[in-house]
Amino acid sequence: MTEKLFDAITELSRDEALKVTDELLQNNVDPNDILDTARDAMQVIGERFESGEYFLPELMVSGDILAAVADKVKPLLKKEGETEKIGKVVFGTVAGDIHDIAKDIVVFMLEVNGFEVIDLGVDVPIEKFVEAVQEHEAKIVGLSGFLTLAIEPMRDTISALKQAGLDDVKVMIGGGPINGLVCDDTGADAWGPTAMDAVSIAKEWAGVRA
């Protein structure tokens, strides 16, 4: 019964997705199943983005549809069925840089691939990364930056994590001004040019086969 919802989301039809959600709820389909279907559909969206079939508009629209479906379903959940997460990632755009698009894409891709992401937003002060890693006991940190000015705060954030004794935490960086040279320069453990690289790196670090 939930196939229609899956199709509506993967075909990016908002009206159809909401109509089907209403029908499913009227037919007493378990709200958890509805959400699971929506999440499965998002994984397909992620794969299509990765393969170059979908671009940013499709990610934005599917995210919008998911939020609307979740709005309808969540109040009816008796107990929110949490799917098993494969790891925790603390993620943010570094201090002084207020760009969120690339960060949001990576967070989206990490989440649809089963990670719990603690998204600290943009212009994140160094201390906030350190505190978040300690509080959530995360072992993976992702630093995003759009401008060349992000390189210095990346370097400073990485050394602050080390100074706080968080040596077992691995840091990946990404964004327009980043490549292997810059990665070495900042002391990061890995870097990647695309959102899928972030997923592969995080999976490897979490001990999951990519």
């Binding site: 207020i98 060349t148 000015l149 390189i151």
Partner: protein
Amino acid sequence: MGGGKSVIDKKTQVELDYQAREKRVWDAIRLEKPDRVPIVCYDEYFSLKQGGLTPADAYYDPKRASKVFADEVTKFNWDMVSIFGNVPGKVGETIGLTSNRWAGYNLPDNQEYQFVEKEYMLGDEYDEFLKDPSDFTIRKMWPRMADGLGAFGLFPSFTMFSHAYAPISDLAILLGQPEVREMLEKLIQIGEEMNEHLAGVDLAVETLKEKGLPVFAEIPAHAPFDWISDYFRGIKGTMLDMYYQPDKLKAAINLITPHMIEYTISTARMMGFDHVAIPLHRGADPFMSNKQYAEFYWPSLKELLLALIDAEITPMPYWEGSYTNRLEFLTELPRGKIWGHFDVVDIEKAKKLLGDTMCFWGNVPVQTLISGTPEQTSDYVKLLIDTFGDNGGLIVDGAAGIPKEAKLENVIAMTETVFEYGVY
């Protein structure tokens, strides 16, 4: 004094240098081989940093920044440079601008200004915008972008002023309101602050001219899609609009395109420039498919580029981000009329597709300039010269200009390689 020309006819060495530099650059743009590969750099903060100044100094003390910039940038002997000056810090503070953040105010001193992207126009406001974009922008948008411009929200629709008694009725009543008066005082103040700021920036232009170094204008024009996406709807807003209300998005783009053309041409002529910079944003490879680019982005941008060329103004599009997938579109442009700056692109493909259409400018990776070595930088510049030099269609610069984080020795290596390896 036999034989030679009279001293009176003789141009000074500085003038000759200036003309030689300009000719070198324009030859390359026209795909006619100059004497050597030109080097033309977007440098807003790198030279300032060499002189010990920060972006905050540029935004708040342009006079001092101008002197330092002119002293530092001329050391490289480049053929042409851009100039800083795009954020008048005091003006922003006076009107309580919230749509930008900048050094010296709410960003650290050493970081460049950034735009705070938001849906300044909501998804259900297209009809208001389409009815009268100026009215919408002034009365609705500005109060959302600057705390000090909130009183524009008290204005009636501008069509209400279209009767003969307006000046002694509606307008006078409006101007009697304390909030409006307070705002008008601020507007007068920003006019004065802007004059002072521009005088500071002009000082750099004049000083560089005296030293024989031409400056290229950064009068900005925008792709109509970017205009809507950057400033009105935000990236998320426009991308949702492409699915949920594509006709309204297209109507807004079509509405502003002729205005953009008219405004750009008149501004360039008023300021005496024969070229305009067009920083491009949302058309880069990862943002949309080629099909979407063809439907939403390219037609109005092409219209703008062709209209500028018709008006004998050379467009300087900065194809920011990765642009390899779009190169086919650019082949539709006329030969030797575009002064385009490339960021990240497959250079072999660019040469193959565009080598006979437009000059290739930029593309020296910022990563190499920042974290690489002089050898790596020099090797890349040689690769560019080997790839594009055969017909003269190459101008060297960093992919995103010269970032202030670049290492001095790498910038020197880039420059020296052009002077040594780039002679035709």
